[in-house]
């Protein structure tokens, strides 16, 4: 808990809050000012927009502790003449129906009236674009704002000048200092007890399952197939090639349990699970089928890695074809930007191939470098490949043009 001092609608307030309490919850739950509404808590819909030190900001993605010393104005505290004119105009132009988006809309509308000199419809709409209304189709809202601006400019009231405002995020222009009592949470973030390992078999034949994403990689290692084959028969070696993977317990030749930690910047997930291994020595082909879940996010993944070895260079080297297929379910899957997740999976696969190649190429298979570093380097590695390719291309183009 931390003690924060915030001025809300002109009244100074000191309160104990958890660091994770966002400003909207603080205003609503601690101060009972329920006019500020939550519509998404992702900073998109605008229903929670309030004034922080006089400027509109999202109270759902601003934490109360970060507003220490700041002055907040909610819809209940909008008492200036602009707000009164806007209220009349909103009613006159039927700019609200259910009224849920209205408090945030008024805050943004006020900003439009104060700052835009002589806005046309488009400028007003752009300025209000961070406030969603599901009822009115915005027509009345735009009319209301337009009429208030026009009226004020006609009365000779000039637009506000924001050039003198302090730099930095609104609400931050107050001496830093330590929060009273420090901001120690009442509880610490815990990682709960060992994650339940769900290693149930699927209730349907395996061939029915199809991965949703498939990534293929191919590379050559300078060892004969039988050496590579033997290497791939040792689960702990294989696991060591997969960044973030850790075996749990004693692996057997065809069954392993473990953890896979996957990171995309600040997002981290830890999948606990198991895998079954099948190997067909007559074709030098193997298949690893696994599944795991990240309990905290309720996400799970299921995947298979198929590999096949073929002799190269008269049997002195081996071509390894790896196909990784996976399906992701739960929270981490439920975003439209699947390309980002795919990017992570791509990088993992590329790293697996690189590490495998590196460990095999190392020559001394028993004395291998630690792999953990690879976790962070995957991106750089893949991107450097791409950058090189682009660089080559550009050099070629430059050269060509100069030559002609």
């Amino acid at each position: 808990m931390a003690t924060v001092s915030i001025t809300i609608n002109g009244i100074g307030v000191e309160a104990e809050v958890e660091a994770r309490t966002h400003l909207a919850d603080f205003i609503r739950e601690h101060r009972n000012l329920t006019g500020t509404h939550l519509g998404c808590e992702h900073g998109v819909c605008g229903a929670c927009t309030v004034l922080i030190d006089g400027a509109p900001a999202r109270s759902c993605i601003t934490y109360a502790v970060a507003c220490d010393g700041a002055s907040i104005t909610t819809v209940e505290g909008l008492e200036d003449d602009v707000s009164a004119e806007l209220r009349d105009a909103f009613s006159r132009e039927h700019a609200l129906q259910c009224g849920y988006c209205t408090p945030g809309m008024l805050v943004s509308a006020r900003d439009a009236v104060l700052r835009l000199p002589e806005p046309d419809d488009r400028e007003i709409r752009v300025l209000l674009s961070g406030n969603l209304c599901r009822c009115t189709g915005y027509v009345g809202i735009v009319r209301a704002v337009k009429s208030v601006v026009a009226d004020r400019r006609a009365r000779g009231i000039a637009p506000a000048d924001a050039s003198g405002n302090p730099l930095g995020p609104v609400g931050s222009a107050h001496p830093a200092g330590r929060l009273t009592g420090g901001a120690r949470g009442g509880r610490t973030t815990h990682v709960s007890a060992p994650l339940a390992v769900s290693a149930r078999r699927d209730s349907r034949p395996l061939e029915e399952w199809r991965p949703q994403v498939t990534i293929e990689q191919r590379f050559i290692v300078h060892h004969p197939p039988e050496v590579v084959w033997a290497f791939l028969g040792r689960p702990e070696e294989v696991a060591a090639c997969l960044p973030g993977a850790k075996l749990v317990g004693t692996p057997t030749e065809n069954y392993i349990e473990g953890l896979l930690r996957v990171r995309a910047g600040p997002i981290a997930a830890e999948f606990a699970g198991s895998a079954e291994i099948e190997r067909d020595v007559s074709h030098y082909a193997g298949m690893i089928r696994g599944r795991g879940k990240d309990n905290r996010s309720g996400s799970a993944t299921r995947g298979e890695i198929a590999y096949k070895l073929s002799p190269e260079a008269g049997g002195g080297a081996t071509r390894v074809d790896v196909t990784v297929g996976y399906t992701l379910t739960g929270m981490l899957a439920q975003f439209s930007r699947s390309g980002l997740i795919r990017d992570v999976a791509n990088r993992l696969t590329a790293a697996f191939a690189t590490n495998l190649e590196a460990r095999l190429a190392n020559g001394s298979l028993n004395q291998l470098p630690p792999v953990s570093a690879a976790e962070l380097n995957v991106v750089t590695l893949v991107m450097s490949v791409v950058r090189d390719r682009i660089g080559r291309l550009l050099r070629r183009m430059l050269g060509q043009r100069k030559g002609t």
């Binding site: 999202r58 759902c60 993605i61 502790v65 970060a66 930095g168 509880r187 390719r389 291309l393 043009r401």
Partner: protein
């Protein structure tokens, strides 16, 4: 959803901030304006044990001008750029970019440094500042290092910033008055994240011709020397000399396999070139 419980510190200066993040213990996340981190915290996608709020550090909100550049603290906001509170040395280029980032209420808290450090490929500054040739100044307990913005991001949500480093400021070069700038962002609606970004800067007096293809769900493609894109005819009509094939090859080389995706990125880049060509500095899409 509400975030996981975390501890919160708000250091008053960089040294204290570095000390906090340098501790070998809790999972720590630096918080600037929090306009990208906030949603991720609320969704519990990000689960820090300690959040270090750097927005009260005066140094990170300061601005310093020199003859050839302006150095802007990492905690300066999009609105600070938009409103001209930070002197513009880019002939209107950066204010016009700032004006079209997300929404005003977000721009009032979202920061340049936060955006670069968050490294969302669809973010405007990741592409725009790379195109303008800005440099990131990075502080650590052992000193400061400078790297080009284009080298800062390493992948989706990933940068080369170490755990014990803070992005302190961004140095933005002063463009010559003859500089030409074009920036084109394709979004399905106002304020939505970009599906494609094209940026072109041609500043012959400084010998600079740069281009960026951004929002490719990976680190943007930065052409520090973009002359091949214009058949090496810089100084000419950039629009007329724009070479679609070179651009297309670039996209293919970067692994953009989907023809629809390539198409919109090509369009964004070509339209950026057109804007640069026509000197549409103050017009926005």
């Amino acid at each position: 959803m509400k975030p996981v419980a975390f501890e919160y510190e708000r250091p008053a200066d960089i040294r204290s901030a570095l000390a906090l993040i340098g501790r070998n213990g809790p999972i720590t996340k630096i918080l600037a304006g929090g306009q990208s981190l906030g949603p991720m915290l609320n969704l519990r996608l990000v689960r820090p044990e300690l959040v270090v709020d750097i927005t009260r550090i005066p140094q990170l909100k300061s601005v310093e001008q020199s003859a050839d550049a302006i150095t802007v603290g990492a905690c300066v906001t999009h609105a600070d750029i938009e409103d001209g509170r930070v002197p513009d040395v880019t002939q209107g280029a950066l204010p016009s970019v700032a004006r079209n980032i997300a929404y005003r209420a977000v721009r009032n808290r979202g920061t340049l440094g936060g955006s670069l450090a968050h490294a969302d490929p669809a973010a405007d500054w990741v592409s725009a500042l790379a195109a303008i040739g800005a440099v990131a100044l990075i502080a650590s307990s052992t000193g400061q290092r400078a790297i080009a913005v284009e080298d800062l991001m390493s992948g989706v949500f990933e940068t080369v910033l170490g755990q014990a480093e803070i992005l302190e400021a961004i140095r933005i070069p002063r463009l010559s008055v003859r500089a030409r700038w074009g920036y084109y962002k394709i979004s399905r609606k106002t304020g939505e994240f970009a599906h494609a970004i094209g940026a072109v800067l041609d500043d012959p007096e400084r010998g600079v011709c740069r281009a960026v293809i951004g929002a490719i769900e990976a680190k943007p493609i930065v052409l520090a020397d973009a002359r091949p894109l214009f058949r090496n005819r810089v100084g000419a009509d950039l629009e007329a000399s724009f070479d679609m094939e070179v651009a297309e090859d670039l996209l293919r080389s970067a692994g953009l396999a989907d023809p629809v995706v390539r198409q919109i990125h090509l369009a964004a880049l070509r339209r950026a070139a057109t804007k640069a060509s026509h000197g549409h500095r103050l017009h926005h899409h």
